[in-house]
């Protein structure tokens, strides 16, 4: 037994030496990870991503280098940035949402360049199934389409008197068709009528201007789809809603912090953290096609009492109890 113990010590020593060598060998490799952010709201996802990556052991400028590009809601620049990133051939590309993932997926189609999306509302646009992407993509669904009903339910609980919702939508949006269909069916189930308004604008200002052009009394509530254009124009929309005293439910919690009345969605920061796990696996050699599309591990209900006050809405107590975050 003594001999065995000595052997173990010798073995441990050898292993330690080997590990040191391998660690020093790995230190020489600096991963280049590029990111494409469709719009500011997803910035927190990238923050969560970087935070978790450093927790795992990827230190910026030591063994990893990030190059994140934000299109700021501008579709043209989004496509240009996508081309630029793919041309640079990084080790891995991280994308924010469906809008940002679609061009990157197209440009990297058929290559081995891994792409990880952090918060895709409708991942089935570019992957085969939730169990396997079948291509160079992996990532997390934000479940945003799945939660359409829940958002309408929230609307009902917040403003029980609202019957007709102004549903603005962007025909140029990546998920346009899916938003429309899921919202229509959800509205029918929950008991809302929809006033669908198409807004085509190049940027947030455009959205603001167009909103003021539409007839103010088309409906008594405002439903905003999870589209980068509208998320980018959150402040403009919020201003409009307050002016018209319309309760507005946004696509994600960040929009509430920027002025919408309430939202029920996954937290981008948490999604970013979740995405770091996937990136780690890929950098260690896993193939994206072998990784299933993950669900958000946490959903959040956020209510903005300031906005509620501004439009003269009394938020029910139950909502406040259930809320994960109340902005006052």
């Amino acid at each position: 037994m003594k001999v065995f113990g000595l052997k173990r010590i010798a073995l441990a020593g050898t292993l330690a030496t080997l590990l040191c060598f391998s660690a020093s060998a790995e230190a020489q490799k600096v991963y280049r990870v590029s990111g494409l952010i469709a719009e500011d709201q997803f910035a927190s996802a990238f923050e969560g991503f970087k935070y978790k990556m450093s927790e795992i052991g990827y230190r910026e400028d030591k063994n990893i280098r990030y190059e994140f590009h934000n299109a700021k809601g501008d579709i043209d620049s989004l496509h240009k940035l996508a081309q630029k990133i793919v041309r640079e051939k990084p080790d891995l590309i991280v994308t924010s949402s469906t809008t940002a993932t679609v061009p990157v997926a197209k440009l990297t189609e058929g290559t081995n360049l891994p792409v990880v999306f952090l918060s895709a509302g409708n991942p089935l646009k570019f992957v085969k199934s939730y169990a396997s992407s079948g291509n160079n993509l992996a990532g997390i669904t934000s479940s945003i389409l799945d939660l359409t009903e829940k958002r309408l339910e929230l609307f009902k609980e917040l403003a029980p008197l609202v019957r007709r919702l102004i549903f603005i939508n962007n025909p140029g949006a990546a998920n346009y068709e899916d938003y429309i269909s899921s919202t229509r069916s959800a509205a029918k189930r929950i008991g809302f009528t929809l006033a669908e308004v198409e807004i085509q604008a190049a940027n947030a200002e455009g959205v603001g201007k167009q909103l003021f052009l539409i007839a103010p009394r088309l409906g008594d509530g405002l439903l905003i789809p999870p589209d980068a254009l509208f998320v980018g124009a959150t402040e403009h929309i919020a201003r409009y809603a307050i002016k018209e005293r319309l309760p507005v439910v946004g696509p994600n919690v960040q929009t509430v912090r920027r002025g919408f009345l309430a939202a029920y969605s996954s937290d981008y920061f948490a999604l970013g953290q979740q995405g770091a796990g996937l990136v780690d696996k890929i950098l260690r050699g896993a193939k994206p096609a072998d990784l299933p599309i993950e669900q958000p591990s946490k959903l959040q209900l956020v209510v903005n009492l300031k906005t509620a006050k501004a439009i003269g809405l009394k938020v029910p107590r139950e909502i406040l109890l259930r809320a994960d975050e109340v902005i006052e």
């Binding site: 396997s132 799945d146 829940k150 299933p292 993950e294 959903l299």
Partner: protein, 1152 residues
């Protein structure tokens, strides 16, 4: 086999004791170390495995209980909720809020529902879905409700949703008080939160944990993708064990087996109590037992070190043991190299020292033996040197005397004799002293021949055994055997006689003498005997050499003669040369050659050498059987007389004795014989007595044979040359005959050839005139011999020439001066009168008939050989061929001139006939048309009333006039066709148009409906390009014929469009009288009519079918007929869509 190898190993040779010790030692050491290491390894391995298995089992149990705790905690949360819910009314907002708050605070729960005691869902809330009141369902039959209502906490089996994550449903009762259950709360629990717990399980370096449900499906693992892919781990051996024993509560011991990736793993599982799940731990064996591998490497290192140290030790020990042995070996090696004074110094005090001592003693012994041996070898070497010296002396030269002198001198020196002599046999009974050597002259012995029967030498040669006298004075044998006693007289004491032998026969003796008494040692005796044998061999060799030289000389002489024979073909020159050569070689003084006359009765002197012409004239001829040469030529055996002065045989045979008188002593006579007969005799004469040995006789016989060969060759050459000349002449004649049809020149050349070869004085050729039966001179040579030219003509059978020409047998008169036959046969005696002695006549035949004769004359009598006769006969045959050829040629020429004339006349006649027919037809038609026109007018009453009888007569006139007109027209048509004046007037039309016209014709023809006429026409008839009128005429002719030869029955006309061939087919079939097979081939000939037609029943002249055929040929069509007598005929013809002449016109146009 293996045992044998092992045994070989331990008894191998080579390598030395040290090496053997080293190998065996290392083997033993290695085996011991290896056994130790294997045993140690096995023990350690079992210990490591035990430790790893224990570790796994502990970890698995711990994780399983951790999972159990987590699930229990979730259950407790649900219990707590149930307690809170019991405070509210079922379905109230309060209950809804409580449920929503749990959802918010406890993330693993994704859906919560409250069921009333009736099983109806009253509240249902999900984090992701909205459940409307209408969607609340009745769950009273669901397991979870049933079990919870019984007071149990229910956990469902694991299931997955569309997003593939694993879920369980947990249900707990809502109680009011301890026993009353008022409802149930159920929660859907997302088990993905277990992934973290399982994922954090790490042990050793590659160990993993799996959480599987009761179906073997993966619930949690560090790699969630495996879970989301709904992986089933049934293939893992531990999972299979777990599924076989799901109720087991204790952890299963770790074991080795095959993992899911096919790798060998160490694995265990621990059941999660109350859930039917299991935590499975697995770790690759090689990693689990990595420590063992390291230990084994150490063990191998240890083994290597052990072997190195061990071998060093063994080397040291083996050196210690083997050093004295090697010293012994070194000593032995020095002694082996020749140093017999060397002694081995070993002081070990054991067996090896004793061995060294014995070895030293042995070396001493060896030294002694060696020195004795050396002396003997020296002596023997000396002896052998002497023997070799003698042998080399003997081999130096083939001149025997000096060699023998040299040899005995050496022998005298070597053996210290005082004198030595060699005697050799010189004749049958004689021996001769060949060499002697004396140290002192006074010891010399008399020379001369001694009889080999005498004395000691004779005795030794007779017996072949040596005689040695150590002291002759006291040796009684000497006194008894020696006759001359020279040795004793000359004061010698020692005498030895050794025989000289060749091929085991004594050929002489060697005598050695010494002044002093002496004893020869056995070695000396043996050496002298050996020397004597050497001398014997040398003597034999010299004899053989001399014989060989003599034989070579003879062969050279024979070669000379043969060469002379072959150098010339003139027999006289050859004979002179050869005889000269033989005389030169054999040293005879004279030679004579006699040749037998052709009759074989007389020998005539052909040539001579070395005798006077007078002597030659006297002995010019001998009759066969007379004298010596006459006897030789008759008997074929030579006669050799050594001395004719004394020889009685000579006196008996040669009665004249001229040779003896001329002073010759030896006389040899040899016959000259060819293969078959004797040609003559050759004599050789010598003025001295010559003893002819058998070999000389053979040589002379060979030389005379060469003379015979030369004679034969000369004859053969002459014959061959003559034959070649004859064949060449015959060839020339044959060529001349075949090259020319001009008889006169051929005959001239043949005659010239015959004259060239046979050198007759005249030659003539007579040829038979078949009409007059006379033979006329056609050629002669020389031309201007008026004497023989007097008679130039013979009647066949008249005189010799006439007879020869008649009988075909040649006649030859070798000398007609006194030939009774000639006088009897010759009518003119012209030949004889002109002074010729020789006359021959040969027949000239062609196709077995005699066509002439050839005659030859000579001034001298002459004999023709059978070959010559054959040659002249062959030439005569060739003349016959030439005569026949010339005749045929002239006949052929005549015939062809006749044919040419006849042909010209025929063409003229034909042309005249054509012209006549054309003119006649034309001239006939004009008046006939007038007749028909007027008859028509009369019949129709335009020229006045006619009676019925007149009308009938007119009808007949008209009918037959028309027939006549048709006949005339036909004749005209045929004439035109033959004169190639007929051409096609082509146009493109539908066949139907022609058919319509013909139908009208048929209606008129058959207006009395005597026969049934039917038409078979296709619905659409094609267009054709051809002469429409001629087509119509063809059809009319054929139908008219059919009508004519069908007294009753039917006629059928068929038209078919042969679209595939581009042709139209017309057929006219009747059931009339038919045509016989023999007639079928002739019916298209002009003026041919069936026999039946001649009976008058059927009118016509037989031009219709001929015209039809000619028309069709013009139009590119063809016609055939099938018929059976009594059954009817079918005429079928086809026409191309476009007639050929039309087509060719078009093609020409296109080409232009």
């Amino acid at each position: 086999m293996k045992w044998k190898r092992a045994a070989d190993f331990f008894t191998w040779r080579g390598g030395g004791i040290r090496c053997r010790l080293l190998v065996i030692g290392l083997l033993l050491l290695g085996v011991a170390l290896l056994a130790n290491i294997i045993a140690g390894s096995l023990y350690t391995r079992s210990q490591i495995r035990k430790a790893a298995a224990q570790l796994q089992t502990e970890v698995a149990s711990k994780v399983a209980s951790q999972i159990e705790d987590v699930i229990n905690r979730q259950k407790e949360r649900l219990f707590d909720l149930a307690v809170s819910l019991s405070l509210y009314e079922f379905g109230s907002e309060g209950q809804r809020l409580l449920v929503q708050l749990l959802l918010k605070n406890d993330r693993p729960f994704t859906t919560l529902a409250i069921l009333s005691d009736k099983g109806t869902e009253v509240v249902k809330v999900s984090a992701r879905r909205v459940y409307l009141p209408s969607e609340l369902s009745d769950q009273k039959d669901a397991d979870n409700f049933q079990r919870a209502m019984r007071g149990e906490t229910y956990v469902s089996p694991v299931y997955t949703t569309d997003k593939a994550e694993p879920y369980v449903n947990v249900a707990v009762p809502i109680r009011v008080g301890p026993s009353r259950i008022v409802g149930v709360v159920t929660g859907e629990l997302n088990l993905s939160f277990l992934w973290q717990i399982i994922g954090e399980v790490r042990f050793s370096d590659a160990g993993h944990a799996y959480l599987v449900d009761s179906q073997g499906n993966l619930i949690a693992h560090q790699d969630p993708s495996l879970v989301l892919k709904r992986t089933n781990l049934r293939d893992h051996f531990k999972v299979r064990q777990f599924l076989r024993r799901p109720a087991e509560k204790d952890p299963n011991p770790a074991e080795e087996g095959v993992g899911i990736m096919g790798r060998r793993v160490l694995s265990t599982y621990a059941p999660v109590r109350g859930l039917g799940w299991a935590v499975v731990l697995t770790e690759p064996v090689d990693i689990a037992l990595a420590a063992l591998a390291t230990m084994q490497r150490y063990a191998i290192l240890l083994l290597a070190i052990g072997l190195i140290v061990g071998s060093a030790l063994i080397v040291w020990v083996s050196n210690k043991i083997t050093e004295p042995i090697r010293a012994l070996h070194r000593g032995a090696e020095i002694i082996r190299q020749g140093n017999l004074d060397h002694r081995v110094e070993i002081r070990t005090g054991d067996e090896i020292e004793q061995l060294a001592h014995e070895f030293n003693e042995m070396a001493g012994e060896l030294k002694n033996s060696y020195s004795t041996l050396e002396q003997r070898v020296e002596r023997r070497t000396r002896e052998l040197g002497a023997l070799s010296d003698i042998a080399s002396t003997l081999n130096q030269s083939l001149d025997l005397a000096p060699v023998l002198q040299d040899v005995i001198k050496k022998m005298t020196d070597i053996f210290h004799f005082d004198a030595t002599r060699i005697f050799l046999a010189s004749g049958p009974d004689q021996i001769e002293l060949k060499a002697s050597f004396e140290g002192d002259a006074k010891f010399s012995v008399p020379h001369g021949n001694i009889s080999n029967r005498q004395g000691l030498v004779g005795r030794v040669m007779a017996s072949g055994e040596s005689l040695i006298f150590e002291h002759i004075q006291s040796d009684p044998r000497y006194h008894e055997w020696s006759q001359l006693r020279i040795a004793m007289k000359s004061g010698h004491s020692f005498l030895a006689v050794f025989p000289l032998k060749a091929k085991s026969k004594p050929i002489g003796a060697i005598v050695c003498v010494g002044q002093e008494r002496r004893r020869l040692t056995s070695d000396e005796t043996r050496l002298i005997t050996s020397m004597a044998d050497q001398i014997g061999v040398a003597v034999e060799k010299v004899n053989l050499f001399e014989e060989t030289v003599a034989r070579a000389n003879e062969l050279a002489a024979l070669y000379d003669v043969t060469a002379t024979v072959n150098q010339t073909r003139d027999p006289d020159v050859m004979l002179r040369d050869v005889v000269g050569k033989i005389l030169q070689l054999t040293e005879f003084d004279a030679a004579r050659v006699y040749l037998l006359d052709p009759e074989g009765k007389e020998l005539r002197l052909k040539m001579y050498e070395g005798i006077s012409p007078e002597f030659a004239a006297q002995t010019n001829t001998y009759r066969a059987g007379e004298g010596i040469d006459g006897s030789v030529v008759v008997t074929g055996e030579p006669i050799l007389l050594q001395d004719i002065q004394t020889d009685p045989l000579y006196q008996k045979l040669a009665r004249s004795g001229r040779a003896r008188k001329a002073g010759f002593r030896s006389f040899m006579s040899f016959p000259l014989k060819s293969k078959t007969n004797t040609l003559g005799v050759i004599n050789f004469l010598s003025r001295t007595v010559r003893n002819v040995l058998p070999k000389d006789r053979v040589l002379l016989a060979s030389m005379t044979n060469q003379i015979c060969v030369a004679f034969e060759n000369a004859n053969l050459f002459e014959q061959t040359a003559q034959k070649a000349k004859e064949i060449s002449a015959l060839y020339d004649v044959t060529t001349t005959v075949n090259q020319s049809l001009d008889l006169e020149s051929v005959l001239e050349q043949v005659i010239k050839k015959i004259m060239d070869i046979f050198r007759f004085d005249t030659t003539r050729i007579y040829l038979l005139d078949s009409q007059t039966e006379e033979l006329n001179v056609q050629a002669s040579y020389p031309r201007d011999r008026k004497d023989i030219e007097r008679v130039r003509v013979f009647k066949r059978g008249e005189g010799i020439i006439g007879k020869v020409a008649q009988t075909g047998e040649p006649m030859i008169f070798e000398d007609l001066r006194n030939d009774a036959r000639y006088r009897e046969l010759s009518s003119s005696k012209n030949t004889q009168n002109t002074g010729f002695c020789f006359f021959a006549a040969f027949p000239i035949t062609a196709k077995l008939n005699s066509v002439g004769a050839i005659t030859c004359n000579g001034r001298a009598p002459r004999h023709l050989t059978p070959g010559e006769i054959q040659l002249i006969t062959s030439m005569a045959g060739q003349i016959g061929v030439a005569v026949e050829n010339a005749r045929l040629y002239s006949e052929t020429k005549e015939k062809s001139a006749q044919l040419e004339q006849a042909n010209w006349e025929m063409q003229e006649a034909n042309r005249a006939k054509g012209d006549f027919l054309a003119a006649m037809s034309h001239e006939l038609r004009t008046p006939l048309n007038v007749i028909i026109g007027n008859a028509d007018l009369c019949r129709d009453g335009l020229l006045g009333e006619t009676t019925e009888k007149q009308k009938i007569a007119l009808e007949k006139m008209l009918r037959y006039s028309r027939i006549l007109l048709k006949l005339i027209n036909d004749v005209l048509t045929l004439t035109k066709i033959e004169a190639r004046k007929m051409s096609l007037d082509s146009s493109t039309f539908n066949v139907g148009e022609v058919v319509e016209h013909v139908q009208t014709y048929v209606e008129q023809l058959n207006h009395k409906n005597l026969v049934a006429v039917s038409w078979q026409l296709p619905s659409r008839l094609p267009f054709v390009t051809t002469d429409a009128l001629k087509l119509e005429e063809i059809l009319q002719n054929l139908i008219g014929n059919a009508y004519k030869f069908t007294p009753k029955g039917s006629i059928e006309i068929r038209v078919r469009d042969l679209n595939g061939e581009g042709r139209v087919e017309f057929a006219v079939a009747d059931t009339g009288i038919g045509i016989k097979r023999d007639d079928l081939e002739k019916i298209f000939d002009e003026f041919h009519q069936l026999k039946e037609a001649h009976t008058g029943t059927y009118s016509g002249v037989g031009l219709g079918l001929s015209i039809v055929k000619k028309y069709l040929e013009l139009m590119g069509g063809d016609i055939r007929v099938e018929s059976e007598p009594g059954a009817g005929s079918t005429f079928t013809f086809t026409l191309p869509y476009e007639s050929e002449s039309v087509s060719s016109n078009k093609a020409q146009a296109a080409a232009l």
